[in-house]
């Protein structure tokens, strides 16, 4: 469904050595992978490994230096139509819920934004009030939250609203960029259960970017290890125990060690 081919991304470095040549920091090296419809792909890596950059590239916000992104066979960065196709198919939930909601919007306005996008795209007229209520119910919140502002919600509640906003535009694919990482463990499980439920209901595809291996084993079918901008290993979650790549192994071991340590 979504396919990345040989993606290279670099940023202009802060410190320019030469006056005429611009030196660049390469962040992603030859990244290629495919997301299958209805699956959940986990992208795992430590901070600075290029996870979020990959996310930006695949949701159409960052044009790669070279390489192509295809959505249902259409080249995203090649044409306006490709970009439209991607925008119609994708939605996103960010890590930092404090900045992912406009502080001046009420909950209903936040969700309305997703709905208007959908209505404009499909030309379908929806009963806005009912629809917002329905969406809120689906993420486990009731009507009393409609008129609240983001700062009047807890982190978990606000992240639920962000998920409601993301599904309001009826996407096929949702990019979850560290969507649960800044929540506490208990809320994390709740949100992941919610995500799983929604995935079944709407037949969604997820790309789940995280540094948290446990979360990946909980929700994903497939996992991708990213290390210093390169994909080191891609495998099914079931086979995660016998990964070959040294870096992936190290990552796994460190977590296992930590778990054992906790037991003692």
């Amino acid at each position: 469904m979504l396919k990345l081919e040989n993606i290279d991304v670099s940023f202009r470095s802060e410190r320019q050595v030469s006056l005429f040549k611009t030196s660049r920091n390469q962040v992603l090296f030859d990244v290629s992978f495919e997301v299958k419809k209805g699956s959940c792909l986990g992208v795992l890596g430590e901070s600075g490994s290029g996870k979020s950059t990959t996310g930006k590239v695949l949701c159409g916000l960052l044009k790669p230096d070279s390489g192509k992104v295809f959505i249902n066979g259409e080249d995203v960065y090649g044409s306006k139509a490709g970009k439209k196709a991607l925008q119609g198919a994708i939605s996103v939930v960010f890590q930092d819920y404090t900045t992912s909601a406009n502080p001046r919007f009420q909950v209903k306005d936040l969700i309305l934004e997703g709905l208007t996008v959908y209505m404009r795209r499909s030309g379908e007229k929806l009963n806005i009030k009912e629809e917002i209520k329905l969406l809120l119910e689906q993420v486990g919140l009731n009507e009393s939250y409609l008129a609240r502002f983001p700062h009047e919600l807890s982190g978990g509640q606000l992240q639920r609203v962000c998920i409601a906003r993301a599904i309001a535009c009826r996407p096929q694919l949702i990019l979850l960029d560290e969507a649960i990482s800044s929540l506490d463990a208990h809320t994390q499980v709740q949100i992941m259960d919610l995500l799983y439920e929604l995935k079944e209901k709407y037949n969604l595809t997820y790309v789940f970017i995280t540094h948290d291996l446990t979360a990946i084993t909980y929700i994903c079918d497939e996992v991708l290890f990213l290390y210093e901008g390169k994909i080191t290993q891609q495998c099914a979650v079931a086979e995660i125990a016998n990964v070959k790549d040294p870096y992936a192994k190290k990552l796994l071991e460190s977590i296992l060690d930590f778990d054992e340590h906790e037991v003692c």
């Binding site: 159409g60 916000l61 404009r120 993301a166």
Partner: protein, 273 residues
């Protein structure tokens, strides 16, 4: 927001002061004791009295009446200038900050050129070029000052354009106009309000300065700067003439500057309420 505003004594006091001055100007025909244009040469440089609370000027006109009528051009023109500069500056700043790329380059280089000249000299040059007229003074002020605001507002836009809620809008393909008008504009409105209140103080001084130099509002229209100009001719013999318009300008400009300061505190979300 309103509660925070009402809690800030300085903001309330200064808004009140400006509001009262504006009201006095609005109801000038009712409040002024005399016709501001009526001359009585026999009664020139009269002392303060019940009949002429602030005395009379060199043509025997009532200074208080002229002060009250003078609010209209002083405050009115300054407001007009403010809206002009902020409007043009905000538009340019938005374009530059939001679209980046070559639009940003062009606008910012023009801004650099504008800012490299001392603004007062440029205002004189423009007024001299276009002819002495109030409209030209406003045009000159807008033309010179927008660059500074464009730069400030661009900085504000840059701060917010990569916030996650805008990233979301962009990712799902929402309209640019929605992002600009519903997300960005409200976000920087606080900065705009502060800039506007500071700018209006600057505009009052500038219009008064130009009138003082004889380039702005022309006699016999009562304007505070022009009144100072007339008073300056008799500085040695009747220094009292300077006091009323001088103090009035200082008070009004200070009020706007303090209001700008207070607004910054009110609109800053980090400031504890």
């Amino acid at each position: 927001m309103l509660k925070k505003f009402l809690e800030n004594k300085m903001a309330v006091a200064m808004t009140g002061l400006v509001f009262i001055i504006a009201l006095i100007g609005l109801f000038a025909p009712v409040l002024a004791p005399h016709d501001p244009y009526a001359t009585n040469i026999m009664n020139k440089f009269a002392k303060f009295s019940m009949d002429y609370p602030l005395g009379t000027d060199h043509l025997g006109r009532c200074v208080l009446s002229r002060m009250i009528y003078g609010i209209r051009p002083t405050l009115g023109l300054a407001t007009l200038t403010m809206f002009g500069t902020i409007g043009l500056g905000a538009f340019m700043g938005f374009m530059a900050g939001y679209f980046r790329g070559w639009i940003d380059e062009i606008i910012m280089r023009v801004v650099d050129v504008m800012l490299s000249f001392p603004s007062q000299i440029m205002v004189f040059a423009v007024v001299a070029l276009l002819g002495i007229d109030v409209r030209n003074v406003i045009l000159a002020n807008v033309f010179i000052k927008w660059a500074w605001y464009a730069r400030m507002i661009r900085a504000g836009v840059l701060k917010y354009r990569d916030k996650n809620y805008i990233q979301f809008s962009r990712c799902v393909g929402n309209k640019e106009s929605f992002i600009l008008l519903r997300h960005l504009l409200p976000s920087i409105s606080s900065e705009l309000a502060v800039l506007a209140s500071l700018d209006i103080g600057w505009a009052i001084i500038n219009i008064s300065t130009l009138s003082f130099l004889g380039l702005g509002v022309q006699a016999p229209v009562p304007e505070w700067g022009a009144m100072l100009n007339e008073a300056k001719n008799v500085l040695t013999t009747n220094p009292v003439q300077m006091i009323a318009p001088g103090i009035a300008i200082v008070v009004l400009v200070t009020a706007f500057n303090l209001l700008g300061d207070a607004l910054r505190d009110v609109l800053d979300p980090k400031e504890a309420s």
